[in-house]
Symmetry: C2
Subunit: 117 residues, 2 copies
DNA sequence: ATTAGTAGTATACAAAAGGTTAGTGCTAAT
DNA sequence: ATTAGCACTAACCTTTTGTATACTACTAAT
C-alpha cells in the first residue's frame, strides 16, 4: 500500500519528461537546431556549421527533428541535381521555456559545484 | 564571418543545457529521485521501489546523485552490519522548475503528435 | 544448520549511440 | 578530362549505457 510511487500519478509525470528528454537529448539535437536559428540552410551548410557532426548522424538527426515538427525539409526541383533546404518551424519556438529553464538551472548548478569543491 | 553560431554566445547557452541534461538524463536518474520523494529509504528498498533497476546500476546512480548534491548517504554504525539510508536533499528541490517545464512541454508535444498523425 | 535479508561489487554480455571511411549519381568549374 | 561540390547512404567499428548473474561478509530468524 505504501508503493504508489510506482503508480499512475508518478508515471503521468515521468513519462512526458522522458518524452521531452528523448526529443531534445543526445549529443547533437540542440546543436543542429541552434545551427538553423539564423535562417534556412542546406545539408552541407549545416554540417559545416555544426562542428564535428558526421553526415550519417546529421541525416538521422534531421529526420527525427522533422518527425517532431521542429524542422521543415524543402526540396527545390527547379535545378538538377535537387537543392534541399532545411528550416526551423515555428513549433521549434515552443521549446524556449524548456531551454531557458535548463540553461538557468545548468548555469546555477555549475556554479554550485565549483563553490562546493 | 557568418559563422558565429559556433562561437562564444552559443556555447554559453548550450553548455549549461548540456550539463543539465547530463545530470537528469539517462534511464534511471529521475526514477530514483522520484523513489525517494516520500522519505528516506535503504538501498534494497529503493531497488524494490524503482521497478527493474539492477543493484549495479542503482549503486552507480546513487553515487552520481550524491556527487551532484541531490542525495545524502547516511550510515548508521549503531548496528552491525551497517545500515545505510538515502535521502533527498533540499537542493534536489531546485530541479522543480526544470522538471515542470519538461513535463508540460512533453505533455503538449505528445498531444500534438497524436493530432498531427 | 539452512534460509533470507543487508549493502553492495565483479564479471560478462547486449543494445544503443555515435564515429569513420568510402561511395553513389549528378553538375559546374578549371 | 580531372576536380570539387551536392545530398545523402552503406558498411563497419568503437564507445557508452544498461542488463544479468553471481558473489562477498555479515546477521537474524526458522
Amino acid at each position: 500500500m505504501e508503493n504508489e510511487e510506482s503508480g499512475e500519478a508518478c508515471n503521468a509525470f515521468l513519462n512526458p519528461i522522458g518524452d521531452a528528454l528523448y526529443v531534445i537529448g543526445g549529443k547533437w539535437k540542440l546543436r543542429v537546431i541552434s545551427g538553423l536559428r539564423d535562417g534556412s540552410k542546406r545539408f552541407n551548410e549545416i554540417q559545416r556549421a555544426v562542428h564535428g557532426i558526421s553526415a550519417r548522424v546529421l541525416s538521422a538527426e534531421l529526420k527525427e527533428l522533422e518527425l517532431n515538427g521542429f524542422v521543415k525539409r524543402i526540396v527545390h526541383h527547379q535545378q538538377t541535381p535537387v537543392v534541399v533546404e532545411y528550416q526551423l518551424t515555428e513549433y521549434a519556438g515552443s521549446l524556449s521555456n524548456v531551454l531557458h529553464a535548463l540553461a538557468d538551472w545548468g548555469t546555477m548548478h555549475r556554479d554550485k559545484l565549483r563553490r562546493d569543491r
